[in-house]
């Protein structure tokens, strides 16, 4: 079923690519550690994808929210890491 649905994505659900791109950008921001470069686009595109699902123009309900959540997680990690680096610098660590 899923294979058949994925074989012809563009006709019935033309905006599925929004969710996919949000997911891709979200994975990039966390797994590839690209952080703010991709997380903010992931959140923006993900919200467009959610709107497309609500409007019936996309059927990948889970993908866009996943991208949004990954984007926010990445932003949270970035803030934590920057605080960590600054604390290390102020503490005068071994390689600060």
């Amino acid at each position: 079923m899923t294979e058949l649905a994925m074989a012809a994505p563009s006709a019935a659900h033309p905006k599925n690519s929004l969710g996919v791109w949000s997911f891709v950008l979200g994975i990039a921001s966390v797994v590839l550690a690209l952080g703010i470069v991709t997380s903010i686009p992931a959140i923006i595109v993900g919200n467009q994808g959610r709107r497309a699902v609500r409007a019936g123009e996309a059927n990948n309900e889970a993908m866009a929210p996943t991208g949004v959540v990954l984007g926010w997680i990445s932003l949270a990690i970035l803030v934590a890491v920057i605080v960590l680096v600054i604390v290390r610098f102020l503490a005068g660590g071994p390689d600060s």
């Binding site: 599925n16 690519s17 791109w21 891709v24 990039a28 590839l32 690209l34 890491v81 960590l84 680096v85």
Partner: protein, 149 residues
């Protein structure tokens, strides 16, 4: 039987529509162009000239975009070899991005519907970026893909 706005307005309506459609690609081009000029003038090869990367600072790993500013600087100065050694993936991707932007601009100028990037393009981008991330941090490939580490 109300008037059909698109048909009733005739060819005169096409021009303002095309002009508003052109705003997004032109603004995007201007923003990226200005950023490129900044990176071309203010040399990112100087350590700390654009701040630091938390990932590189804490783990010593090079993310897929590491060296991207240096590669952009070198590309802007037509130093292809320098750009390649800074970030091979971005050296290849940057012209693709320029071509994609041009197709966006042309579609907007002709008043055609702008097709976004496909799902397939998204998966391919993720796969290539993941492969490059792994490859450039492998000890055997690091001298070629991340030579400054």
């Amino acid at each position: 039987m109300g008037p059909i706005p698109e048909a009733a307005a005739g060819p005169d309506a096409v021009r303002p529509a095309a002009r508003s459609a052109l705003r997004a690609p032109l603004l995007a081009g201007a923003a990226v162009g200005a950023a490129t000029v900044l990176v071309a003038v203010r040399d990112p090869h100087t350590r700390g000239s654009y701040g630091f990367c938390p990932l590189l600072e804490l783990t010593g790993l090079a993310c897929p975009l590491c060296g991207g500013l240096r590669a952009t600087h070198d590309l802007a100065h037509l130093d292809l070899a320098g750009a390649w050694s800074a970030n091979a993936l971005w050296t290849v991707t940057a012209p693709v991005v320029v071509v994609l932007w041009l197709t966006w601009l042309v579609a907007a100028a002709r008043g055609k519907p702008v097709k976004g990037l496909s799902s397939t393009a998204g998966w391919v981008t993720l796969g290539v970026a993941l492969a490059f991330f792994v490859a450039r941090n492998l000890p055997g490939l690091q001298p070629y893909l991340t030579p400054w580490l």
